[in-house]
Amino acid sequence: MATKSLKAIGHQLAQTQKQLDLLQSGPFKEGELPLFKDKIAQTGQFPLRAKTLEILQINMGYMCNQVCAHCHVDAGPDRKEIMNRETMQQCLGVIAQTGAHTLDLTGGAPEMNPDFRWFIEAASAAGVKDFIVRSNLTIIRANKKYHDLPEFFAKHGVHVVSSMPHYTQGKTDKQRGDGVFNASIEALKMLNKVGYGMPGSDLKLDLVYNPSGAYLPGDQAALEKDFKKALDADFGIQFNALFAITNLPISRFLDYLVASGNFEDYMYALVDAYNPAAVAGVMCTNTLSVSWDGYLYDCDFNQMLGLKVASKARHIKDYDTSLLEGREVVISQHCYGCTAGAGSSCQGTVA
């Protein structure tokens, strides 16, 4: 299990240009597989355009207590990029002036940002009702100062979305690190205890499943059934929904694909599973991603590839609906990850 980010070890794939080159190489360069833009053009869906902003997804920083093998953020304890209050305030300004109804907080481990609680309190006071926090669960157990996060989440009605790669220990720890499974189970029990995921409760707890390897997720409903049965039988744990998310070929997952000799097969599998009906629901159509330093991206994946929005307004302080709505989304072959099978977004399948 890696303990350092690609950036920290000076890996060449820490350079976004190297990742973008790879996504143009091999079967795409030789014309064996179509480029994403040509594929969506076949059904008249090119160019992909952003519609009305509904969700502001804020990356609070790349710092994380874990170093998961598949992480598309290349997050870890060694990453120091952290959003400051000024940028958070600018985000609140945008929420106030647009019809965006949801703040979706991600990272890294967003809870590690020292202003995390301040931000939720300020947003709450400003009238935001719909919060999503993408929590890796183990953070709740990582340090005493995080033990009361379940109560804090409950107080603000935060919708908790947590990663859980499998309902067995072996698979979970292999993807996310030793001890992650047990710590996650403990954290889920704490969330259940304050009402999260419990029948009849308004506190929503969803789990995110992504495959621990070079294969696509199976049927979301069937996986949800298996997870519910196993987590309840083994640990008495309850949750609301399971989102099956496809791993996109970027950052550490891309490194894994290349190093294990799976890159080509994986790209073939993604293109084979291409579903034109999923294109309309890809998340860049209603979401804007803000990086720790305030820049704007069509999605968190584009953020990690350094692909800023194709608009004159490229920073949250310059946010302007007239410039951003209807913008052409910046795409490359990683986008096939959003349109495979039933489609994939931060809220699970889309088609």
Partner: protein
């Protein structure tokens, strides 16, 4: 032409068999896809049966395909190995039960 009988890249060309006999190919894939849908048996159970049969017929393409399918469906490696044993047990049982035929013949031919 390659020098090997089996090439992993051929698996993704499976669909091409329809090119030389479109109607039969289409019928086959239609049938194939229907078989593996959720039914009285779950898609998960059928995937494990397919994996066991893949080993019994020793088809490297099917083994690749149904190992991956099992992973996609969240099937554990312990479940997969037990399925392979179920196939192997039937296969060796099928061999051994012919031992009765051998015994019958032996007895008939012996004084």
């Amino acid at each position: 032409m390659d020098n090997n009988y089996y090439d992993p890249a051929d698996l993704r060309k499976f669909g091409k068999i329809s090119e030389w006999a479109p109607e039969l190919g289409e019928k086959f894939f239609d049938y194939y896809n229907s078989v593996f849908k959720e039914g009285a048996l779950s898609a998960r159970e059928k995937s494990l049966i397919a994996l066991a049969v893949a080993h019994v017929v020793k088809c490297p393409y099917c083994i690749d395909a149904y190992t991956k399918d099992g992973l996609q469906k969240g099937i554990t490696k312990e479940e997969m190995m037990e399925a392979v044993h179920a196939g192997a047990a039937i296969e060796s049982g099928a061999t051994l039960v012919h031992g009765v035929q051998m015994m019958n013949k032996y007895n008939k031919l012996s004084m």
